[in-house]
Amino acid sequence: MAGVAVSTTINGDAVEYLCQPDETLLEVLRDRLGLTGAKEGCGTGDCGACSVIVDGRLVCSCLVLGAEAEGRKVETIEGMAHGDQLHPLQQKFLEHAALQCGVCTPGFLIAAKDLLEKNPSPTEEEIRFGLAGNLCRCTGYDKIVRAVQDAANVMKGA
């Protein structure tokens, strides 16, 4: 199996790696680059725990090949805060206790960020359908939805 050389941008930084043709972007992030914030909950695109943004599109990194990232811009949870300043969504997730075990949290935060960038004033229903690709088994989603609503308000005011 011939390795594929890839040049890409991750969280604003130029990154180069060699990966196998069938290796997923999630495997590359976690096992080659040490970016373990994206989680594998299923490996089949059903749980959203591995969500990242590629060229402005929310995707499951388990359903993207590492080779496909050539020349793209990848955003992961590790790049969400600005320095020591948490993103409003991160802050609101903490304040609302929108996480219990926290393993789905990186995926939810990335998906919620994408949602609010495309729709800054979502209704509860839009939030619920917008985040339906992210499974959480701990919270019953109540506090997650409230945290996203609160963050949307804060971000509009900013």
């Binding site: 970016l35 059903d46 219990q100 393993v103």
Partner: protein, 754 residues
């Protein structure tokens, strides 16, 4: 140690507030390390070969081709995990479940494993292992398995708990019975009797993080295990026993845990990873795929339950009886027994009898799932209670209030209750605005009650005071949902300092004494008790140091609001010493200041909840949506109310999923057909409404702050609450969980066809 755990009313400064959890920032930035996020130098990738057959004799395993594959460093079978269980039947079951010895007992049962330099080679190696099976007849349905014609899963099983030992083996491992009074007499006194049979399908805890570990065994017999678990001390004991290691030489570190709900109380892959590491001489990382999690971890029981309840015209229940059959997977369990204990625990009954049968099936070994066994029993009982209320023409809440257990009631499973919350939750529900909200066409409202015992258990905690006056708290109960925040609040409360100066961590097995696992809703209950005890021990030292500084008798030094205070007029010139001041001087007054505690947290207060649920049913498709949901539950004392609400909401959401869509679906071939989140349908965000909560606080007399466990009870009522709501919406009594659209539509059509 003379720790007094009894409740004493007090005003709280920290407990009951809602600060941000100490592990929060790591979790929102992706830095928190879960089972699969840890790596060691030279680590190999482990993978497990699993039986495709539900029931088969393993005639031979040839690993030679796999061993020859370049990059493969170890291949193991049951031979590499010799039986060291020394007659301990439960441990032998665990061993056999980790790696099948003579027979594969379910689709997904491990039969061999490899460790290789990467995942691709490991996968390739699995394909090169040749296993010769002799396929046997199998049985996966609980009722079919209980039948005397069923294929035998283990011919050494003779039902225990019968008056005479049966002549023939069967798949029923045990019969248990609970109750008191005379049910025959009770039913004879009844004016109305409801009798119904129910079934519930097998469900999975559905934690988002698959099982994962990194094992490293050294040549000198020492070993390290990094693992996502609800109980690293228990894992250490089990792994040490199965591998023949000295427990103290195996250090187990619990990673952050991505959900457990009872499913991470049991070893599966960990002994395999250790055995692979031992053979390869290198660390091995073993992560289950989602498919493996469903096929080969520990789902809950499938059940079949018959209920009979009788009442007088005035609404008094005169007799209640239930027979409960619970599947255990292929190994003995006590799941029906727990169901039989919980079934009627909400009620004050003169005549009650429950009988449980543990049934072996060719499915994965049943493990705990949040108040294990109670939701199914409550589904059956609370559905029948609603039916009986209807026959009596009584309001469902009033009927339950009339028969609710109270302080002094003898529980159906034996003990006499202390102060309990069933009555108060019912009264709160009766007056809740949700009960009066209008409903539209095809909508219905249901309610139901639930009970869980809660556990305490062995607990050990260290509290260390730094020289700057900050406090580190090391606990041994894994934090599954915010307990580090709660325990920090408790330490702050007891010491009289601010929460921000306390940092709680979960210590590894070499750093702290033994702790039972986080199950039975014990995490905050028992570790808060140990934290209070440790803090009081530290305060004793703080007082001694102050007494020494002041050169006065320690008896004259009191501890108030984070300060040592010299009591008495003669000490008027001594200004209080803060914890910070005492800590700063500790190097000169006798060294480090710490408090330690080891105890058995007895007296976990029982817990009750009552839920209200509105549903809307599409009568043309059988589709059911939950449109409003309210949880009312007794917490004893809510240490961190936000996380208590989170437990209520999470349990309710899991119950809703169980009630409506979640189920293990086996084919005729005995293979699991829906081993993934696509077709094992846990609720998604758009499936649920906001879940309203109301916390009641009826103090637990056996805890200094009145705390009760809160984690599990909230999964108990939803199955019945939703079934009752569906019945009230469209007039069909659903007796089979999950109430999936095809089942509801079939029931509606049967009703319409009369």
């Amino acid at each position: 140690m003379n720790f007094d755990p009894r409740f004493s009313g007090r005003k709280f400064a920290s407990v009951g507030t809602r600060p941000i959890r100490p592990d929060g920032v790591d979790k929102v930035t992706g830095r928190a390390r879960y089972g699969a996020d840890f790596n060691m130098a030279g680590q190999l990738v482990g993978r497990i070969l699993r039986s495709p057959h539900a029931h088969a004799v393993i005639k031979s395993i040839d690993t030679s081709k796999a061993e020859k594959l370049a990059g493969v460093k170890a291949v193991i079978t049951a031979k590499d995990l010799p039986d060291l269980t020394d007659g301990d039947a439960a441990m032998h079951d665990i061993l056999d479940n980790c790696m099948a010895r003579k027979k594969a007992l379910y689709d997904g049962h491990a039969v061999a494993a490899v460790a290789a330099i990467d995942a691709r080679i490991a996968r390739q190696a699995l394909k090169l292992i040749e296993v010769e099976y002799e396929v046997l007849p199998h049985v996966t349905d609980v009722d079919e398995a209980a039948h005397h014609h069923a294929p035998l899963i283990n011919d050494q099983v003779f039902t225990e708990g019968l008056e005479e030992k049966p002549a023939k083996p069967s798949n029923i491992t045990k019969r248990t019975q609970f109750g008191h009074g005379d049910v025959h007499k009770g039913f004879a006194e009844a004016d109305f009797v409801v009798e119904r049979s129910f079934k519930t399908e097998q469900t999975h805890q559905g934690y988002i993080e698959p099982h994962a570990c990194v094992a490293s065994v050294n040549a000198d017999g020492t070993a390290d295990l990094w693992v996502c678990t609800q109980g690293h001390f228990v894992y250490r004991q089990h792994c040490a026993q199965l591998l023949g290691l000295e427990a103290s030489k195996l250090r187990v570190t619990s990673s952050e845990i991505g959900g457990g709900f009872g499913g991470k109380t049991h070893v599966w892959a960990e002994p395999v990873a250790l055995a692979l590491s031992r053979k390869a001489g290198r660390p091995v990382k073993l992560v289950m795929t989602r498919d493996e999690v469903f096929r080969a971890s520990g789902p809950t029981s499938a059940t079949s339950i018959d209920v009979r309840i009788g009442a007088r015209k005035d609404g008094t229940i005169t007799a209640a009886e239930a027979t409960l059959r619970y599947s255990c997977g292929p190994y003995a369990g006590s799941w029906a027994e727990i169901g039989a204990m919980t079934a009627f625990a909400c009620y004050k009954l003169e005549n009650v009898k429950t009988v449980g049968y543990e049934v072996l099936v060719n499915r994965p070994k049943t493990a705990a799932y949040r108040a294990p066994s109670a939701p199914m029993a409550a589904f059956a009982v609370e559905s029948a209670v609603d039916e009986l209320a209807k026959e009596l023409g009584m309001d469902a809440v009033d009927f339950r209030i009339k028969n609710a257990a109270q302080e002094g009631t003898r529980a159906s499973y034996g003990p006499v209750y202390g102060p309990i919350g069933i009555g108060p939750t019912l009264e709160a529900v009766k007056h809740h605005p949700h009960m009066k909200a209008p409903l539209k066409e095809n909508q219905g409202r249901g309610m139901a009650c639930g009970f869980w015992f809660n556990f305490g258990g062995q607990t050990c905690t260290d509290l260390n005071i730094g020289m700057d006056g900050s406090v580190s708290l090391a606990v041994g109960t894994v934090d599954v949902g915010g307990s580090r925040a709660s325990l920090s609040l408790v330490a702050a409360e007891e010491l009289g300092i601010d929460y921000s100066h306390v940092k709680a961590i979960v210590a590894d097995t070499s750093s702290l004494g033994y702790n039972d696992m986080t199950d039975g809703s014990r995490g905050t209950f028992s570790s808060s008790m140990a934290t209070i005890s440790a803090a009081r021990n530290a305060i004793k030292i703080l007082r001694e140091r102050a007494a020494q500084t002041w050169d006065i008798p320690v008896e004259d030094v009191h501890w108030e609001k984070g300060h040592a205070i010299a009591k008495g007029e003669k000490y008027g010139n001594l200004s209080p010493l803060s914890l910070k001041e005492i800590a700063a001087a500790s190097g000169k007054t006798g060294g480090p200041i710490a408090g330690h505690s080891e105890l058995v947290a007895d007296g976990a207060g029982v817990s009750f909840a009552t839920h209200i649920c509105d549903v809307e049913v599409d009568p043309e498709t059988g589709s059911t949506r939950v449109i409003r949901y309210t949880v009312v539950q007794d917490a004893g004392k809510a240490v961190h109310p936000t996380y208590v609400e989170g437990q209520y909401q999470g349990g309710a959401a899991q119950g809703i999923g169980w009630a409506l869509n979640e189920e293990y679906i086996y084919g005729k071939d005995g293979r699991l057909q829906n081993a993934g989140f696509l077709d094992y349908r846990i609720p998604v965000c758009s499936d649920l409404p906001m879940i309203d909560t109301q916390i009641l606080e009826i103090p637990n007399p056996n805890h200094p702050y009145g705390v009760r466990g809160v984690g599990e009870t909230s999964i108990v009522p939803p199955l019945a609450a939703i079934a009752n709501a569906v019945s009230n919406a469209v007039g069909v009594r659903m007796t089979h969980i999950p109430m999936s659209p095809p089942r509801i539509l079939a029931a509606l059509d049967a009703e319409r066809e009369g």
